[in-house]
């Protein structure tokens, strides 16, 4: 006979059946029933200090593993605090499931205590969402939610469950067959389109592969390297696609876009074929769309048909999973080549190598200081041999990390690309460290970002999560300061975070973390070594950095990629 379970017990059981090993959450009134059976479950629950932290932890966990991250919150403010992480995951296609408590069904719509219209509020920032009104629906809804989050174009799914539904009972049954008549993500691309794409590629003299986060989400890194190798075509990796193929590979041109390197940006501008895979022609990549890659034909491979033609019309659209389509493309090309090598494209590669030589990413570290953030990043890379998962917040430090780290593997770069969520790094790094307890997880954070979410380090300290956080302290909201300097006549408004408050070492220690500080370039390496030696609690390392450094290259917002600015001097010269 089927056992009788409460809705809460059924929820926990359904989550276990989905293979959930850890949840990140904060309890409260309406979700209370679900927290009781958690005590009897092997699933781990990490108590975040704010629901936003719980959400980004789930996202960091999902980023690091490709598995669905789970966040839990109560009704009202608990649920509304999840909105930022949900929208963040929505923009970056990160598979997460949010479970929220809701006031009892009889109170919905009555402005009850801690009531918010979670279903309505979360609708535009989730891939799909549910309000469960019948306890018997719980197994099916949880199964669907995980299926939707992880398949096709991944994304966030929210399940809102009223307290009385959690408290009422049901005869337990496992989820039935998925009943989603309108949801059929495509796996393979249309063979005719694949053939057409290869024909364009064969004819192209200046092709560029444009690899986005979709390649990483699809687990298609190997395939994304095999294809350009066979085709003898260079590739750029976007902010979300960093690590899709190794930066050290001769065909990898690095990051394009607003703060991309000269060669990656210019290669796209000069290309006669842009071959986009799992990328969405984001405005931070294209700059002014009208003048973006003006001579390029477009092949666009994406699992989400709505991305194709959204910003730029595709000459050859291919709907399908990045990995499956890359396999098809490689096979089709191999057949076409019939054992002969792909075109040499000597002129194109000569041009690319010329740009690389003339305009490398550059910075100068004065041995007397102040510390440059790029130097910290390179020192960390040297000491770890690049064997670390790197997490960033949003701003200058994020761009420098993406530019200077040198990514060799997928899923080793975790950041908030689409939404640009300041404060993302600390909780996301905690989530990644929970997923990968034996890996070095190092967040590179700004002081502005750190002050938004450092409270989550208390949770990490209590749980013994040995995550490392570098606080790049330039005592300012650095990117905002950069824009005010360049575009607002150096009229600095609301960017000053002050020189000595807080004391980051004392703050770290007060939260139960190890606190370290480096003030001089000579201290950077040794301080990082000290931080890496800690393996039982979080470490916060403050680097007192140059307050006036700016990120270059830069394409001013809305400007043409042809007008890439390599240094502040360039800009002043007009």
């Amino acid at each position: 006979m089927a056992e009788t379970l409460t809705g809460a017990q059924a929820l926990i059981k359904a989550l276990e059946l989905e293979g959930v090993e850890v949840m990140f959450g904060v309890p409260g009134g309406a979700i209370l029933p679900a927290y009781d059976p958690m005590l009897d479950s092997p699933m781990r629950h990490i108590l975040a200090r704010h629901e936003q932290g719980a959400g980004h932890m789930a996202s960091g966990y999902a980023h690091a593993t490709g598995r669905v991250g789970v966040m839990v919150a109560t009704s009202g403010p608990g649920a509304t605090n999840l909105i930022t992480p949900l929208q963040d995951a929505h923009m970056d296609s990160i598979p997460v499931v949010a479970i929220t408590g809701q006031v009892a069904t009889g109170s919905i719509g009555n402005d009850a205590f801690q009531e918010a219209h979670t279903w309505g509020i979360s609708m535009p920032c989730t891939k799909h969402n549910y309000l469960v009104t019948d306890v018997n629906d719980i197994p099916d809804v949880i199964h669907e939610a995980f299926h939707l989050a992880a398949t096709g174009r991944p994304g966030p799914v929210l399940v809102d469950i009223p307290k009385n539904v959690l408290a009422s009972t049901m005869k337990w049954h496992r989820a039935g067959r998925l009943d989603l008549p309108g949801y059929k993500p495509r796996d393979k691309g249309h063979p005719k389109q694949v053939k057409a794409a290869i024909e364009l590629l064969q004819a192209a003299e200046r092709p560029v592969l444009y690899l986005g986060g979709g390649v990483i989400r699809a687990g298609a890194s190997q395939e994304a390297l095999a294809f350009p190798e066979l085709a003898n075509a260079p590739a750029v990796t976007t902010l979300m696609g960093r690590g899709a193929i190794p930066d050290s590979h001769p065909l990898c041109l690095g990051m394009p876009g607003m703060h991309g390197n000269y060669t990656a940006v210019t290669a796209m501008q000069q290309a006669d074929l842009l071959f986009a895979v799992g990328a969405r022609f984001d405005d931070r990549v294209t700059g002014d769309v009208a003048t973006f890659a003006p001579g390029a034909k477009i092949v666009h491979v994406d699992v989400d048909p709505a991305e194709i033609g959204k910003v730029r019309n595709a000459d050859v659209p291919i709907v399908g999973d990045a990995r499956s389509v890359l396999v098809q493309l490689t096979e089709t090309l191999a057949r076409k080549l019939g054992g002969k090598p792909a075109p040499a494209r000597t002129e194109w590669f000569e041009a690319l190598h010329g740009w690389q030589e003339a305009h490398p990413l550059r910075y100068e570290q004065d041995p007397e200081g102040p510390i440059q953030q790029q130097y910290v990043i390179q020192e960390l890379h040297r000491i770890t041999g690049g064997d670390a998962v790197v997490v960033a917040g949003v701003g200058q430090h994020q761009m420098w990390t993406s530019q200077f780290w040198g990514f060799e593997r997928p899923n080793t770069w975790i950041n908030s690309g689409g939404l640009g969520t300041m404060g993302y790094a600390v909780p996301a790094a905690i989530g990644a460290q929970v997923a990968l307890p034996d890996q070095t997880v190092f967040a590179i954070d700004g002081d502005g970002c750190f002050q938004m979410t450092f409270n989550e380090l208390i949770a990490a300290a209590v749980e013994g999560i040995p995550v490392k956080i570098a606080v790049m302290n330039n005592h300012a909201l650095g990117m905002v300061k950069q824009w005010q300097r360049l575009f607002y006549n150096e009229r600095y408004s609301a960017i000053d975070l002050t020189d000595h408050t807080p004391d980051y070492v004392k703050l770290a220690e007060a939260m139960g973390c190890v606190g370290l500080r480096a003030e001089h370039p000579s201290e950077v390496g040794p301080t990082l070594e000290k931080a890496l030696a800690v393996d039982d609690k979080p470490v916060v390392v403050e680097f007192r950095c140059d307050p006036d450094a700016m990120v270059f290259p830069m394409v001013p917002a809305g400007g043409s990629n042809d007008d890439i600015v390599l240094s502040a001097d360039d800009l002043n010269r007009g």
Binding site: W119, G120, M123, P124, K127, H128, L131, L148, L180, P181, G182, Y183, D304, P305, A306, I308, G309, K310
Partner: protein, 169 residues
């Protein structure tokens, strides 16, 4: 230009909100939207009339919603469409006869008569409704309610027949 889209959706709570929210957040301009059940109780059909030159992105965004099963753009000539309206017109006793005569020609049914107004119900092709409204405008329209258009694709066989007869004409 007006486009008519027929959207087959799962008949689930909130499905209308999902669709209208998507239109709003993507900045698509809806002219009218009518929803109702279909022969299959698990499905509803929405007929959406949209202003705009580009339908491709709208159709793709509709498909992206999990509850959307089928989206069809119905082209002029390949569709049957109807709209229903109620219109209240000023009708002083001296002009009532001519108003009722016009209504008779247009098959508009008088359903409510007051001292100085007549209210008609009329259904038909949207263009015909518009013609009747133009005719009534000089008398003074005091109230108007329209259902929004509903539409369906023609049976492919009937379309073939229509084309044949057009060709032979």
């Amino acid at each position: 230009m007006n486009h008519v889209i027929s959207v087959l959706v799962e008949n689930k709570p909130g499905v209308l909100a999902r669709i209208s929210s998507m239109f709003a957040r993507r900045g698509f301009n809806i002219h009218s939207l009518a929803v109702g059940p279909t022969a299959d109780p698990a499905m509803s059909r929405m007929t959406v009339v949209i202003d705009g030159p580009e339908m491709e992105q709208i159709i793709k965004q509709l498909y992206k919603l999990v509850h959307t099963v089928k989206v069809t753009e119905l082209e002029v000539g390949d569709r049957i469409d109807r709209e229903i309206m109620m219109v209240r017109v000023n009708a002083e006793p001296g002009r009532r006869a001519e108003i009722l005569e016009a209504a008779r020609i247009f098959d508009a049914e008088p359903v409510d008569v007051g001292i100085a107004t007549v209210t008609f119900v009329m259904s038909g092709e949207p263009a015909r409704l518009a013609d009747f409204l133009e005719l009534m405008r000089p008398y003074g329209i005091t109230d108007l309610a329209k259902s929004g258009r509903i539409a369906m694709a023609k049976d492919p066989k009937s379309k073939d027949a229509a084309r044949t007869s057009l060709r032979s004409a």
